[in-house]
């Protein structure tokens, strides 16, 4: 199973990114890392996680059992809000 996870890391202290990296280091083995390219490749028991960062967004490609994804979701903030367009009003004259 391949899962893609995009995390917009807007927290200024990088706590979310550091937590994800820390969790991956616990569960998996870092086999390649490039600070210049801001990417890392982790080998887990039955899977592989590719981590890269573009601007404020972390991209995780997770190939392997769902437990890897679950262990990452466990450390992400639990409260999310979805904001979506409802309707447009009549412009004020």
């Amino acid at each position: 199973m391949l899962k893609h996870l995009l995390v917009d890391v807007l927290d200024k202290d990088m706590s979310i990114e550091l937590a994800i990296r820390s969790r991956l280091s616990e569960k998996c083995k870092l086999v390649f890392e490039s600070n210049e390219l801001k990417l890392g490749l982790f080998a887990c028991n039955d899977g592989v996680v590719y981590l890269s960062r573009v601007s404020t967004v972390l991209l995780l490609d997770i190939l392997g059992p769902e437990s890897i994804l679950d262990s990452i979701l466990d450390i992400l903030p639990k409260n999310y809000l979805m904001i979506r367009l409802l309707e447009r009003g009549i412009p004020v004259e």
């Binding site: 992400l76 409260n79 999310y80 809000l81 367009l85 409802l86 309707e87 009003g89 412009p91």
Partner: protein, 186 residues
């Protein structure tokens, strides 16, 4: 859809303004009952108390026939006169609130002002929604949005944001809690 009852030959609505509370009231009558039925104001005894947004909206209706009696006894017929006389009552929330209130009313929604930047709206489907009025460029953190949603959900309402752009365009957004683990077994 316009608020048709008050178009054409509009009945005279006399509002007594209280500058200490920046609100006004109508004495109980057939007109005040009709306004209350349409979600205007709140009855306190035999007085239907209207807030400033409701008063301004009624004054701005086409063919409006609203007289606001000031506490000094003068009669005010236009919103600009009201602003001139009671400028201290018009805070920064007033105009965005009025824009959203007017827009929703003109599109057939029932709207009640609950507080600064906060409206209760009854959808055409009958659902109740707390609408928070925000101006473009206003810096709002995610925690505030979370509190907005929590407050709405505590009261079994849906939540929505009404964003008033600097150009006066209004856009409504649904705001709901989301669970990225939705569909997972836990």
């Amino acid at each position: 859809m316009l608020d048709t009852t008050f178009q054409g030959k509009s009945p005279l609505i006399t509002i007594y303004f209280d500058d200490s509370t920046c609100s006004g009231y109508l004495k109980k009558s057939a007109i005040s009952d009709e306004l209350a039925d349409r979600w205007f104001g709140v009855y306190h005894g035999d007085k239907l108390v209207l807030n400033l947004v409701e008063i301004a909206y009624l004054m701005l209706l086409p063919n409006s026939n609203v007289i606001v009696n000031s506490s000094q006894g003068s009669e005010i017929r236009r919103v600009d006169e009201l602003v001139e006389k009671y400028g201290n009552c018009f805070d920064k929330y007033f105009w965005p609130m009025l824009a959203v209130f007017k827009d929703l009313r003109e599109r057939g929604r029932r709207v009640r002002v609950l507080g600064p930047c906060k409206l209760l709206v009854k959808d055409k489907s009958g659902d109740l929604r707390l609408v928070y009025v925000l101006e473009e460029k206003l810096d709002v953190n995610m925690r505030s949005f979370q509190e907005i949603v929590n407050e709405a959900y505590r009261n079994n309402f849906k939540a929505a944001l009404a964003i008033v752009s600097l150009q006066g365009e209004l856009t409504y957004y649904d705001i709901v809690p989301a669970d990225i683990r939705a569909g997972k077994s836990d």
